[in-house]
């Protein structure tokens, strides 16, 4: 990386962590960044490359047992950062596999469910997805209307879901529905009749990632497919916290990639007979961005320590998700500006990151929702819902 490590953050990582980061970086450089703009143009999700991430112990990174890597949250965060240097869509896929599919099975599933799914998911042989959001219930998932009813040895599920990452390629879907008026998680296997995911194709953002709508029409699943220990909305939200954590790290990677690209360009681009990097206005942009990136790294790192110690308050995760995504968006926008006219071309990565981050700003809790989570934590007063 060409950005000086001004706060010597590398010293805060172990040799192992650095080595692991380097290997993954090489993979992303070689196998992802070279193709990302084409994939983005085509709206193509590179499933094989995504599965190859298993070799780097990305999937279920922090989970213990069941052939999962059992690494630290900081290990996990660093990997997410490297993956999102490649693309936010690819990182979204990895977040979903780890935080939203494997995590709930690990946390709330039966022994049988864990043994059946987790080892193969950790290897990337099976893909998972997570379905909570509905067309009319985004920020207020508690209002969801998908319903499960008991019928002999089965549950029958009906409803509509939206914005479900990986749904059309997933082997298993962790889906939340109301059973006797209480939110409950279920495992739905690929190909179950009545489970119909349809890809959303007209996206401008996260085009290297599958998003889908799902209609559930009398979808019948065996009773054994209930997530035994999942209790109410709280369990679903605990998955989101895992995902939000990975976002807080990931977007730093997107910011890095933009920053490096813009810095390189600014040093080479000559105007008025000198590099534009020598102009005060441009230096101001870099100084602002650099400071924000370092601050975001420190925030993510401290949060990782707290996660490893099992002490992170959900509001702490909200603070990092909100701050770091804002930071990355601002960096992408400033870098696009520095690149000038060429910044809109797919010769460069900035515009892809810029549009991707629009989704990241909105998903897993919008900026507003995290604002109000912090507000409530601080004041004890709830200003939403």
């Amino acid at each position: 990386m060409s950005i000086p490590d001004l706060y010597q953050l590398s010293d805060l990582f172990s040799t192992d962590q650095i080595a692991r980061r380097s290997r993954l970086r090489w993979f992303i450089d070689d196998q992802v960044l070279h193709h990302a703009n084409r994939w983005f143009q085509e709206g193509h999700f590179p499933l094989e490359q995504a599965q190859a991430l298993a070799d780097y112990n990305v999937f279920g990174a922090t989970l213990k047992g069941y052939d999962c890597p059992g690494m630290s949250y900081i290990d996990y965060g660093l990997m997410m950062q490297e993956i999102e240097r490649g693309d936010s869509g690819l990182r979204s896929f990895a977040s979903v596999q780890s935080a939203l599919a494997m995590y709930p099975i690990h946390a709330f599933g039966s022994e049988e469910q864990k043994e059946k799914w987790l080892p193969k998911m950790a290897k990337g042989e099976l893909i998972g997805c997570f379905s909570l959001t509905e067309p009319d219930h985004g920020s207020d998932p508690g209002g969801l209307t998908t319903v499960a009813v008991e019928d002999g040895d089965s549950f029958i599920i009906n409803g509509k879901k939206r914005w479900c990452t990986s749904a059309t390629i997933a082997d298993v879907c962790i889906l939340f529905a109301k059973l006797n008026d209480r939110i409950q998680g279920f495992l739905i296997e690929k190909g179950t009749p009545g489970f119909n995911p349809v890809e959303i194709t007209n996206k401008f953002s996260l085009r290297i990632s599958v998003s889908a709508e799902i209609s559930l029409e009398d979808c019948r699943i065996p009773k054994a497919n209930i997530l035994t220990d999942a209790k109410g909305l709280k369990s679903a939200l605990s998955c989101l916290n895992q995902a939000r954590y990975s976002i807080a790290w990931g977007v730093i990677g997107a910011a890095f990639d933009c920053f490096e690209e813009a810095l390189k360009y600014a040093k080479q681009r000559i105007q008025f007979e000198k590099p534009i990097a020598s102009f005060q206005l441009v230096q101001k942009q870099f100084a602002d961005m650099w400071t924000e990136i370092v601050s975001a790294q420190l925030l993510a790192l401290r949060l990782g320590e707290l996660m490893d110690e099992g002490k992170a308050d959900p509001a702490a995760i909200s603070m990092a998700k909100r701050n770091n995504v804002r930071m990355a968006m601002e960096v992408a926008r400033q870098c696009r500006d520095i690149l000038g006219a060429v910044g809109i071309l797919d010769d460069y990565h900035v515009m892809r990151h810029l549009t991707n981050l629009e989704s990241v700003f909105t998903y897993e809790g919008t900026d507003h929702i995290h604002t109000l989570i912090l507000g409530e934590k601080l004041t004890g007063l709830r200003a939403f819902g």
């Binding site: 219930h137 209002g143 105007q271 549009t355 989704s359 909105t362 507003h368």
Partner: protein, 383 residues
């Protein structure tokens, strides 16, 4: 958009009629197609004739088949076109400000009589070659050359980021002749001249952007634009284009604003429309204010241009302010739309991406900053 400052009443009947006719064209002919054109990355060149019919092409010029309307009327046209897509306004800004304007002001009578009527109907399309790959903010440094050989000029060099280049019948090209900047006309199909399209744009996809290559390109002597001498002449054209940009982006902002406002009134979360939440109202209130100020700035600028008293710095102020305003508005509206805002069922994200180009072209935001800075302090700080 509620016209809180009664801005409509600042315009004449005729100006409002011009706006409404343009709006009708935009609603009927452009809006239904824009989503597909954007996906395909295609400019629907067949629309040019309809623009011509409404008097949009060369709108402020007199005679030679041009409509001769006021700068504010033309501004309103630009606003309506960009309400649909910045690509349409870009096409028009190039055709009008960068091709017809220099032919009208710097051309010979023969050049005017031959080209202006065709350009005014949209039968012919023009482009403007000033920017070079290594000379964007500093066009005076250009390295494209022209030399005289008998009754011909021979052009060599490369131009970049040229709107309409590939579809143009005529290019207004700037080159150094005996070390002095000079404008020329170069017709399509002239040997040694080619104009391939730039691929891979994620912005202004409903617009043609091209390179222009001149490789021993020979043009007849009479294609020199007699009065187009020096960088100043080129900059006069840019000022025309910047005026239409300052107006146009208001249209993009209004389109985003109206879409987001409507969405906020119908999208229910926590049992009420999100438009009822303070955080959303704060965003709507701010962009409404910003649009209103941009309209007043443009209206005043148009009046100064009609009176012939607009200083270039006044145009810089409006271009810089209004594009930044529109870009911010598009971003905020994209946000209000939530997850839906990333699909092209909605316009905001397309406008947002388009405006990234508009922020950069025709003088970047920073360059206009320094133009204002020099005007204020008397000290140029470009270098």
């Amino acid at each position: 958009m509620t016209d809180l400052y009664h801005i409509d009443s600042l315009f004449s009947e005729e100006e409002l009629m011009v706006r409404d006719t343009t709006r009708e064209l935009v609603e009927n002919e452009l809006m239904p197609g824009v989503r597909d054109w954007n996906r395909e990355g295609r400019f629907p060149v067949e629309m040019a004739a309809q623009f011509g019919e409404l008097g949009i092409l060369g709108a402020t010029l007199d005679a030679y088949g041009c409509a001769g309307v006021s700068y504010n009327a033309y501004g309103l046209m630009a606003q309506e076109l960009e309400r649909c897509d910045s690509g349409f306004r870009s096409f028009t800004s190039a055709q009008n400000g960068l091709v017809m304007y220099p032919i009208y002001h710097f051309g010979s009578e023969g050049q005017k009589e031959y080209w202006l009527p065709k350009l005014a109907t949209g039968e012919a399309i023009g482009c403007f070659g000033l920017t070079e790959p290594d000379f964007g903010s500093n066009p005076g440094g250009m390295i494209t050359t022209a030399r005289q050989e008998g009754h011909e000029y021979v052009l060599n060099g490369v131009k970049r980021w040229i709107t309409n280049g590939t579809i143009a019948d005529i290019a207004v090209v700037w080159a150094k002749l005996d070390d002095k900047i000079q404008g020329f006309l170069v017709a399509k199909d002239t040997p040694g001249f080619s104009a391939p399209e730039i691929e891979g744009k994620w912005s202004l996809r409903v617009s043609v952007t091209s390179d222009l290559y001149f490789d021993e390109c020979r043009i007849p002597e009479y294609n020199l634009l007699p009065e187009a001498v020096g960088l100043k002449a080129a900059l006069m054209c840019l000022n025309q284009a910047r005026h239409s940009i300052a107006w146009g982006v208001i249209g993009a902002a209004i389109a985003c604003f109206e879409e987001a406002l409507e969405y906020s009134k119908t999208r229910i979360q926590f049992d009420k429309p999100i438009g009822g939440f303070q955080l959303v109202q704060a965003k709507l209130a701010q962009i409404w204010t910003d649009i209103t100020k941009a309209q007043l700035l443009c209206h005043r600028l148009g009046s100064l241009m009609d009176a012939g008293t607009a200083q270039p710095a006044a145009i810089s102020m409006a271009k810089r302010n209004n594009v930044a305003m529109a870009l911010n508005t598009a971003r905020v509206c994209r946000d209000i739309l939530g997850a839906s805002g990333i699909v092209d069922d909605y316009h905001a994200i397309r406008h947002m991406n388009n405006l990234e180009s508009v922020y950069t072209y025709e003088g970047t935001h920073d360059i206009h900053t320094l133009i204002l800075g020099e005007k204020l302090t008397g000290i140029p700080a470009y270098k």
